[in-house]
Symmetry: C2
Subunit: 289 residues, 2 copies
């Protein structure tokens, strides 16, 4: 039996879909079943369930977007940092393998030659950039918590998108914003990311950190134009002239943009399709929906 | 009625002593009375108690010393960051004033002219120095959580000491270490710090951050020699030749040393005695004990 935590979220529900697709038996405790911030409760629960592996997709990403994490800082810290800390302690002690959904948002930009950051590079955004928001800091603190923990795989997705209209979906978000900021990012097709997480644990790839984005990178305007080309959105997208104009809105948090290199995961045989190809396929599916 | 949280700790028990000395009625819930990581529990409890003010002396400092915080990272994060986050949320909502015991350990060194850091200066250690340990990071994350919270005073003590032999007491620690590291620090006499916290809330000084150390700074060797001069410790103290030799010990965390300027608190009429004077008085009391 597999345990999936955070199955009701945008990312978690996609992992649940993937597990069902594979016919894998899994159990998803709700908040009322299991208080993930209580070490005693978590310890007793897992000692009883003894799952083959665990996927932690619990996360607090803010409502309606990342700006909300600045308001409910302690909730964000509980979900994003304390929970993986408790899991590391308990699951490490029980010898249960598990995986944690981190985020690529701890990086900013790309290497000087345009190449994506690898897992060997220290995140230079969340740790020391004063513009880093609370969300990025909680995700980075979690990675630091888990660094020395045994039996854990850490995935770093970025800006998930898929073919279903959802307030968490990058495509939905782009269509709803009045104006866009032109930046280059690595992004993660949701179902492809979900499949990668399950495959990582089923195939017992080595512990450690893995970038889990579609290979390559894409500009905001490329995504916007693809949405128009597929007839999903007819509006003429407007762009901010620069980051400062974007940030002038009160309560708006600086967003990192970054390019990640998913080569380490690919070297384990876990390959997500190239980003433009994945986007095209997703937009085709959207049209049919 | 006053509420004191963390009354069983080294700092908290001194604040309890001060409140008793003043004849102030206070209540100190234990862990089993109140789960401080549960927003619902904390909210119900404080709505019922309606205290005049609250002092949060809950903290996880590691056993036997700060190195222990690297092992139990999530416990440290719960106590040092999540708890003040919950309190900010609940007490802010209820309009209850409160104070939080932070730490000066988020700074390193002193200003170029030797002057102590003021509250206007950004901590340069916990935020971006890769040597900063987990403890310093959790304390700094808490200050960031509380920055925008209403009605909260944040005190920054440093390396508490008093006349009672205790494993948390700087003087006890110095006497137990095989070798010492020669550094310059601002430090806080425990009972004087405790008195300052209560006075801050009783006299309703403005919200915000306050360095709460004895004015001035002191070298490790000055404290060691004072211990010998008072006949409290007869041993010939040995010193590490440098920081690298100190850090060569496995599991040892880099310690920041720093000089803080407590002038902002003094300007509110809350004055702690000069550090050498306070140390002398403490050592006299130790001899008599």
């Amino acid at each position: 039996m597999i345990v999936l935590l955070g199955a009701s979220g945008y990312v978690g529900s996609s992992i649940a879909w993937r597990l069902r697709q594979l016919g894998a038996a899994f159990f998803s405790p709700s908040h009322s079943d299991l208080d993930l911030t209580s070490r005693d409760a978590v310890s007793a629960w897992f000692a009883d369930k003894k799952p083959e592996f665990v996927i932690n997709a619990v996360g607090f990403t803010g409502r309606p977007n990342i700006d909300g994490t600045e308001i409910e800082k302690w909730r964000c810290l509980q979900a994003n940092t304390v929970v993986p800390g408790v899991l590391a302690d308990v699951l490490g002690g029980l010898g249960i393998r598990w995986g944690h959904v981190s985020s690529g948002c701890i990086f900013n930009g790309a290497n000087a030659d345009g190449a994506g950051f690898t897992e060997d590079e220290e995140p230079q955004f969340a740790i020391s950039d004063p513009r880093a928001g609370w969300y990025a800091q909680t995700k980075w603190m979690a990675e630091k918590l888990l660094r020395d923990a045994p039996g854990v795989i850490i995935w770093r997705p970025r800006i998930p998108f898929n073919a279903v209209d959802n307030e968490r979906n990058y495509l939905t978000k782009l269509m709803r914003y009045d104006r866009l900021l032109e930046v280059r990012n690595s992004i993660s097709q949701l179902e492809e990311f979900a499949a990668a997480t399950v495959q990582s644990l089923q195939e017992r790839i080595p512990d450690g950190v893995y970038n889990a984005t579609n290979p390559g990178s894409i500009l905001t305007s490329e995504v916007a134009e693809a949405l128009r080309r597929h007839g999903i959105c007819r509006k003429e997208f407007q762009y901010f002239t620069d980051e400062n104009e974007f940030l002038a809105h009160p309560g708006r948090v600086y967003r990192a943009s970054c390019v990640l290199d998913p080569g380490k995961l690919a070297a384990q045989g876990i390959r997500m399709p190239e980003v433009h190809e994945s986007l095209e396929r997703t937009l085709h599916a959207w049209k049919r929906a």
